[in-house]
């Protein structure tokens, strides 16, 4: 139920609205990808755009990610501002050369003389038994490689503002949206992702984290779907008299280390929640960002609630066993204090 003056949108609609408004203002913006035209995107994030802008600017592609992502690089270097969709982030395997050797490096290799203003939007996340080629997050994989900004909204307000900011950025931005937050016809949606979203165009700063819940006993850092798990865990912990602060990273590149460090300096405890694989990834980077800066702020060893280092299984009980959830976060906090 909407409150007065409240305009709740799903992330899918927020993304589409951001693209629509930018395309109305900027003729260099166009969208390319598989099934983004008549279908409106597998995740609904280009719905309605074909009808308004036509097939020239809302451009269905062949199933040729290497070609159309590479083409987006060439178009971006030639003055356009393409938004391209990689339908599932898992499909990066067929086209990563175009992403990390072209899109991410041409600005540097040209000494800044070529700009590559493009957005690569891609879906992440599992929990719906689609198995290990359609359920990964791979946040750390993209964030690890220099030359790409990486953002990941947890709600529709940020989704719209980040998309507008990404389209206006002169550097390539990887825009990673979680299927369970998206609000589309074929998968249940986390209700907390569908929030008030202003109608007018606005930007959300890339590289700025949000403290989405204030607390004093522990800092829980996450992104995307993990933010909602963290907020649910914080609510449970509050019933036990524990005050948890929750940080939504919003962006992985640039990473807002200052906001994380300031929070942990206050709480003394750190839990990182990440649906991406545990090892060599986001969770380790967040912990290192705190410990290499000032390890003395920690009252307990940091904890990680992340996906174990296994491919994502199909069977529901197996996948759910592996995924982060609020109970695992609460247990992580309890184990910190038991030590």
């Amino acid at each position: 139920m909407n409150k007065p003056n409240e305009r709740k949108l799903t992330i899918a609609r927020a993304m589409a609205e951001a693209v629509q408004q930018e395309m109305q203002m900027d003729p260099s913006v166009f969208v390319m990808g598989e099934d983004i035209g008549a279908l409106g995107g597998v995740y609904g994030n280009t719905r309605g755009l074909l009808e308004e802008f036509g097939s020239e600017r809302i451009r269905d592609t062949p199933i040729s990610e290497t070609a159309f992502i590479g083409a987006a690089v060439g178009a971006a270097q030639d003055g356009m501002r393409p938004v391209v969709e990689l339908m599932f982030v898992d499909f990066f395997g067929v086209c990563f050369d175009a992403i990390y050797n072209l899109m991410a490096k041409n600005t540097y290799f040209s000494g800044g003389n070529f700009k590559v203003p493009m957005v690569l939007m891609t879906s992440t996340g599992g929990g719906y038994s689609d198995a290990g080629q359609h359920s990964q997050c791979l946040y750390g994989t993209f964030a690890h490689l220099p030359g790409m900004k990486v953002v990941c909204p947890s709600n529709a307000y940020d989704a719209k503002g980040l998309m507008t900011a990404a389209m206006r950025d002169d550097s390539p931005v990887v825009y990673m949206y979680h299927k369970s937050l998206q609000g589309m016809g074929w998968l249940a949606t986390e209700p907390g992702a569908t929030v008030h979203t202003p109608e007018e165009s606005y930007t959300v700063e890339i590289g700025k984290a949000n403290v989405v819940r204030e607390g004093s006993d522990v800092t829980i850092v996450s992104l995307g779907m993990g933010v909602h798990n963290a907020l649910k865990a914080a609510a449970q912990m509050e019933a036990d008299g524990v005050s948890a602060e929750v940080i939504d990273l919003v962006s992985l590149v640039p990473l807002d280390r200052d906001t994380i460090r300031a929070s942990v300096a206050k709480t003394g405890r750190l839990i990182v929640v990440d649906e991406d694989y545990m090892s060599y990834g986001v969770s380790g980077e967040i912990i290192a960002s705190v410990t290499e800066h000032d390890i003395s702020v920690l009252k307990a060893a940091p904890k990680r609630v992340a996906y174990p280092d296994v491919p994502i299984p199909y069977a529901r009980v197996m996948e759910q066993f592996c995924l982060p959830n609020p109970e695992k976060i609460v247990a992580a906090y309890q184990s910190m204090n038991a030590a």
């Binding site: 260099s28 070609a67 590479g70 083409a71 690089v73 060439g74 030639d78 393409p82 220099p146 550097s171």
Partner: protein
């Protein structure tokens, strides 16, 4: 379609300049690398892929291009860069890794980027295809003039991305031309051992577009084929595919002993060196006088020497400049 007298002079000048550059680099490359060869040493470190023998492809195609047209080149890009009009001083300085280079030393010889003439390259096989197709799409969408040409080697056609890009260009009827420089060797693997068809222009049938093969590294035939393809693209009639039989007179890279090449193959190729052949033809056809050609040769040599001097005298980048220009 035959090149005019002026065009022939332009083609010859760029071929000679390119060859002179490669010969000069080949000499400098071994500075600091003896008595024990290490690629990491000397004023020009790293891999070096020289284009000796492949000059006709670059000039035959680029004779039809304007600065506004887009070219993507390969790991062996010097002849293509010169023919496209890339600033020679900055290009050589980039090869030397100097702060005055095209990219301030961040790219090196496999990553030459000159926005003034819309030239870019990549060290990965077939990778220039997507960006060239995208530039062609950009021109089509903006209704701006200009064509995009991707130069690739014959080995590139066996990459999946090559096929994807060809299909995309044909499906969208883009102003794009793919030019295959067939030097018969993918490093050490001969074309016949890697490629299912002898004539890669036959592959054009898979995209419903024109495909032609040019024999014998002939700059005049390349000029004619490229002229037709580029005019077609400019007229909105879509992409074309050209394969040129060319000669790799150098190794894959400097230091390549080339033990894989059959005995006598390179000697036979040097007999067919396209530069003296074009020189003789221009004289025979009355398209140039001996004095004119000697002037072109002297000016080309002087131009290269000036660029080398500029590069040698330029400063190294500040080491910490490595940390800049990651983002726009």
């Amino acid at each position: 379609m035959t090149p005019t007298r002026d065009e022939q002079h332009w083609m010859y000048r760029n071929m000679v300049t390119s060859r002179k550059l490669e010969e000069t680099i080949a000499g400098i490359y071994f500075e600091g690398k003896t008595p024990v060869f290490s690629m990491a040493d000397g004023p020009i470190p790293g891999e070096m892929h020289l284009s000796d023998g492949q000059e006709p492809v670059a000039v035959g195609v680029c004779a039809h291009l304007n600065p506004d047209d887009v070219v993507t080149a390969t790991h062996r890009p010097h002849h293509q860069a010169i023919a496209k009009g890339v600033d020679l001083d900055k290009m050589v300085a980039e090869i030397f890794g100097k702060t005055t280079g095209l990219s301030g030393g961040r790219g090196g010889h496999m990553h030459l980027f000159d926005p003034d003439v819309n030239f870019a390259c990549s060290g990965i096989i077939a990778q220039g295809m997507g960006p060239a197709v995208g530039a062609a799409l950009s021109r089509q969408m903006q209704k701006k003039p200009g064509v995009a040409v991707a130069f690739v080697g014959e080995g590139a056609v066996n990459q999946g991305g090559w096929h994807e890009a060809m299909n995309l260009a044909a499906t969208w009827n883009l102003p794009f031309v793919c030019v295959i420089e067939d030097n018969d060797w993918g490093i050490s693997v001969a074309k016949e051992d890697s490629t299912a068809v002898a004539n890669n222009a036959d592959r054009a049938a898979a995209y419903g577009i024109p495909g032609v093969r040019v024999a014998d590294n002939d700059p005049y035939a390349i000029y004619a084929a490229a002229g037709e393809a580029i005019a077609r693209a400019r007229d909105g009639k879509g992409p074309s595919l050209i394969e040129v039989e060319t000669y790799r007179l150098a190794g894959h890279f400097m230091g390549d002993a080339e033990g894989y090449r059959p005995e006598g193959e390179k000697d036979a190729l040097f007999e067919k060196d396209p530069i003296p052949k074009m020189r003789a033809k221009m004289l025979a056809d009355g398209m140039a006088t001996e004095a004119e050609l000697e002037t072109i040769e002297a000016e080309s040599a002087a131009r290269v020497e000036a660029a080398i001097k500029f590069a040698r005298e330029s400063a190294d980048p500040a080491p910490e400049d490595a940390l800049t220009a990651v983002f726009a």
